[in-house]
Point group: C2
Chain length 444, copies 2
């Protein structure tokens, strides 16, 4: 029994690692673009690099440094110039592309400075130039460039007000896109008439291109009119910074300020490619799980919702596997991904992945061999040093013996403390990638 479970834990680790590897930023770049010294094939398009005067690399996000490094390895001295904005200490050695460290998740002056420089590089690009854009999770905060007359502080205050009034993330993004010189398709607009390839590592459920990093190279479907509708809906006229409200009102009557739309010619030479996402990680995990002998089922890469309820649905599937061999027979591996939420009820320390595993623990207690692993692909889960946690069908008993109570820990959202004492944390350190969370459930 002990041996089976410990072997299954090793399997879960291997399956998770395989998922991570598939979304390694450098590999993701290499797997989606091939250069033969003359032609660069990206996705379904081929670019003859000899025909471009300048090749400019721009990028932002937590994975921008390794992505830039991969592009340098591929194109080398062909690169004319470039600049990537990365989170502090998320560095890599680069030869042709400049690297600029900036604040995340709260944008700072360094971020704005880098964004300004990226804006100028894009503006300078001509019809004879190729711009390669590298986007990954965090790009929104790492490329902060408000329109003239609005400060970073005004923009931040606007976001805070929208968050606290209960506006949806979609409503917040409508306004943020209209206050930015980069988001909402603006980057494509300023880079036009240059050719633009955008390589995107998606950290968003469903991979909506206009949501990832607020869609700098993607048509925006929202308008200044929508911004005013949101403001009126939540009665924010008197709360927003005056500069913001005045700018948005003025935008109503100035078509030149509007974000570029679907049929705009600025997107004619734009090629947006998702080079890595949660599903890619899950598919790689599936391959390894199958090799390890598990009947493997991908549930969905788009699972959201309150963590403990989502955990309950997962354990209901584990119980059904044991009871009837549905949806797959044993040895079974169920894979899912996405990003759940946690309603904070207590003062504990934890993250959504650790909470998921904690909520699942009592349900699998004492049942046939079951192991559950949930972890963030970026190597961090909430404000903790763990990526996630492990649990198996003997963990409940083990916890009781140590005087740990899963119910109580869950009530306090104290999953980190619980799993630290149980020695069941998964600690990977920063992985330099981010495609949300992976959940692995093994039943033998």
């Amino acid at each position: 029994m002990k041996n089976t479970l410990s072997q299954m834990r090793n399997h879960a680790s291997s399956i998770f690692s395989a998922g991570l590897e598939a979304v390694n930023p450098a590999d993701a770049v290499k797997n989606s673009c091939v250069f033969n010294g003359q032609e660069l094939v990206c996705g379904d398009q081929t670019y003859n690099l000899g025909q471009y005067q300048n090749i400019i690399i721009l990028g932002a996000g937590k994975a921008a440094a390794p992505m830039a490094q991969a592009i340098e390895k591929m194109l080398g001295s062909i690169i004319t110039k470039g600049l990537v904005n990365v989170k502090y200490e998320h560095l890599a050695t680069l030869n042709w592309i400049e690297i600029n460290e900036a604040g995340h998740p709260v944008p700072d002056a360094s971020g704005k400075q880098g964004a300004q420089k990226a804006f100028e590089l894009a503006t300078s690009a001509s019809a004879k130039d190729l711009v390669i854009c590298l986007i990954s999770g965090g790009a929104s905060a790492l490329w902060p460039l408000p329109v003239a007359g609005i400060t970073l502080q005004d923009k931040q205050k606007t976001t805070d007000i929208l968050l606290s009034c209960g506006a949806t993330i979609n409503e917040i993004n409508i306004i943020r896109k209209h206050l930015s010189l980069i988001k909402g398709g603006r980057l494509a607009q300023i880079a036009s008439p240059a050719t633009l390839i955008c390589l995107i590592l998606s950290d968003v459920v469903g991979d909506d291109l206009d949501v990832i990093a607020s869609g700098p190279t993607v048509p925006d479907s929202s308008t200044f009119g929508d911004c005013i509708t949101v403001i009126e809906k939540y009665n924010l006229q008197d709360q927003l910074p005056l500069s913001v409200f005045e700018y948005l009102k003025a935008g109503l009557h100035d078509k030149s300020k509007e974000t570029p739309k679907k049929n705009s010619p600025v997107f004619k030479k734009v090629n947006n490619i998702i080079i890595g996402n949660n599903l890619a990680a899950i598919k790689a995990a599936e391959k390894t799980a199958t090799q390890l002998g598990y009947n493997t089922l991908i549930l969905s890469s788009m699972i959201e919702g309150e963590t403990r309820v989502v955990a309950g649905v997962h354990t209901a599937i584990a119980k059904e596997i044991i009871k009837s061999g549905h949806p797959v027979s044993r040895p079974a591996c169920i894979l899912s991904g996405g990003e759940t939420t946690v309603t904070i009820r207590g003062n504990g320390k934890g993250g959504r992945n650790q909470e998921f595993v904690l909520a699942a623990l009592p349900d699998i207690a004492g049942r046939d061999h079951t192991v559950i692993l949930s972890a963030g692909t970026d190597g961090t889960d909430g404000p903790t040093d763990a990526a996630g946690a492990f649990v198996d069908s003997e963990s409940f008993q083990k916890a009781c013996q140590k005087g740990l109570c899963p119910d109580k820990a869950l009530g306090q959202n104290d999953s980190y403390t619980f799993f630290k004492e149980l020695d069941d944390l998964l600690i990977t350190g920063p992985t330099n990638t981010n495609v949300m969370d992976l959940r692995i459930m093994l039943v033998k």
Copy 2:
């Protein structure tokens, strides 16, 4: 498009009906017991009915009448006597078995009277007799027989106090079993030394025998000590009716009052058989879905949790089917069962099935052909005349055109009004069975 969706709705209806048919109480009895005029084969055991002096039928539950009718059709005049307690108006024509109408969900005097008579019939059974017990959903309330000195009102008050103090259903059942002359294995105890066959239609997630109808023919693992632990945990010493508290305290020191345990000889001649459950309905639904050409996946028959979050997990799977063909490729049918919960936030009218479908509606709006049906197998969903509701990928638009807002209706838990106006209710009338809910999701 319209034709495809309306065809898919018909398919969903047929799949649901197939599920219902499989758990039709009369058929479930016929499918699990076969009588050749001499031998009765029930499950894996064979009974030579010639060797019994009396054959006594006892039963309670919403499906007790059709179950009794099926037994009468099978055994006819071999039956010595019998009595079933049914919900008011849940009748059937019976010749040898008496039928007694009683209160549900709140027990009443008629229920107690019937339970008392059942108790006497069981007590009268000797080693030469066969007792056949018919259990279905609602049996717990329809067979109320408190121990001497405790009134129905005391027992009801105790339940109310336990519910309002936040005790778990498991904790509540521990106490209820110890206050009853029938629950917690007591019926087996009083029927002993007779032979006992118990045919059970399960309305409980996971089909735990000691939970269905509080396990009248099943060993009880809880003790009077556990009762006192629960009372002390919630500090109920001064709140409970004195008769209840005194009885439970006295039980601590009187082993004759304890419920029968696992190794008790009273269970030697007991054969508990689940003749129908949620999984049986799902499996029948699966068969029909497969015949209709769908790649069909049974997710789990044991899904619980907050309805809207569970709905989100289901639609995440629908989205993945459309995106990547996982967990099954199109045309796909996902089946699940169990019983979710609804946290009441508004003053609307609805049930968990209608709320499930309402919560799912925006997620599938405008996507490829998708149809979702969720309904209670008993034909009722919450305090409404509907069993559940339908929705498809065009319903959102249809609702908007009618001025109906799904978000607002969900906020008010007003799913019934919403679907009534949308003309998307599923109304079956009482089905005379109950194996919880069925959810069907079709994606083409």
